[in-house]
Subunit: 188 residues, 2 copies
DNA sequence: ACTTGCATGTAAGTGGTTACATGATTGG
DNA sequence: CCAATCATGTAACCACTTACATGCAAGT
């Protein structure tokens, strides 16, 4: 899932500027399974333009800086569908949290508790975001991507079990941690 | 979760060679949430040695090439615990599969079905691996990491919902796809 | 004869991120 | 007055992957 294909996927649905694409990645409907920074989006877009997969036009706005709006071409649509037909790459799940959990017993119990609560909060925040997007989609269901609901529900369910796992089994991890006595002792 | 910390985490539990560390990442108990290649492990280990966080000894074997076994030092253990105390980085979930699902309606129904089955198979394979590791741990429960069970269950539950989501809602995605008639029509 | 597994390592390439440079406008 | 939002872009850097180089032994 390179940024190039990501841009094509967004432009497949609507025209957009680099700035808008970035926003969609961090806040939009697919925020929880893709991400990209300006430093990768802008070069990707100009490369796509060189290859004729998108075209651009500059739109002047008053009060705001002008923006460069990219539109996908027929060649771009074809290239995107071709990319989708390729075998699907492996999903990547890299979890600093699980690394922490695996070695929690080395740390003081109160730190473990703090980190676990932070993790729950993070999952809740993501779940809230998905709910918000779902609500928005219910409000104006005009000609939108038919599978967005499907993807959103998938994410919601995965995040929900993760959250539930965490809350119901928190205490076990905390209990594995060091008491403040043991930590003080180790420090001697 | 850089490879450096990954190496420290493994060496914290047992001494190992670069080759063995690689195997643990691809097959071992944490295979489903970390990964690393030789090209990153070997340089990381020699850098760790330069910094005095690990030491190494060469072990000659007959019939097999000699191996360089790395052992963590006290400084290494401290550095690792210090790293664990840092705020936990965000979990990364990059999903080419969800990108595919989101745009499945652009593709022929039979291709969608094929890809979905592949994805189920992949999830099943990962679940099998976890079960196998769990079984191994039940067989010889000698002084092993107390939180491995916790992490394994977490992964198992997350993968299981993903699998169940997929199997129960497969047909919706397939139905959104193009019939072979429509595809033939589009090709004209 | 060929592949697989064991074992170490390097060099080139990739696919990004972070930080910087720039600048106008709005809101607190 | 400062921060944030809108908006584009580049350059330096980073962490990692892929492919290559090497070699021996056991299994198929």
């Amino acid at each position: 899932m390179n940024v190039r294909t990501l841009c094509l996927s967004i432009l497949h649905e609507r025209e957009a500027s680099g700035y808008e694409i970035r926003k969609m990645c961090t806040e939009g409907e697919c925020a929880y399974f893709v991400e990209a920074s300006y430093g990768s989006i802008y070069p990707a877009l100009s490369r796509l333009e060189d290859e004729g997969l998108v075209t651009s036009r500059v739109e002047h706005q008053d009060g705001k800086p002008s923006k460069k709006i990219y539109v996908i071409t027929e060649a771009g649509r074809t290239a995107f569908v071709d990319a989708l037909c390729e075998p699907i790459g492996e999903d990547v799940f890299r979890s600093p949290f699980l690394m922490f959990a695996r070695f929690a017993h080395l740390l003081p119990a109160d730190l473990i508790e703090k980190r676990l609560k932070e993790q729950v909060a993070r999952l809740d925040a993501k779940l809230d975001e998905i709910s918000k997007i779902k609500a928005e989609m219910d409000e104006n269901p005009d000609g939108q991507n038919p599978n967005d609901q499907w993807v959103l529900r998938y994410g919601q369910n995965c995040l929900t079990v993760a959250r539930d796992e965490l809350t119901t089994h928190m205490l076990e991890l905390i209990a594995s941690g060091r008491t403040s006595d043991a930590v003080a002792h180790a420090a001697e």
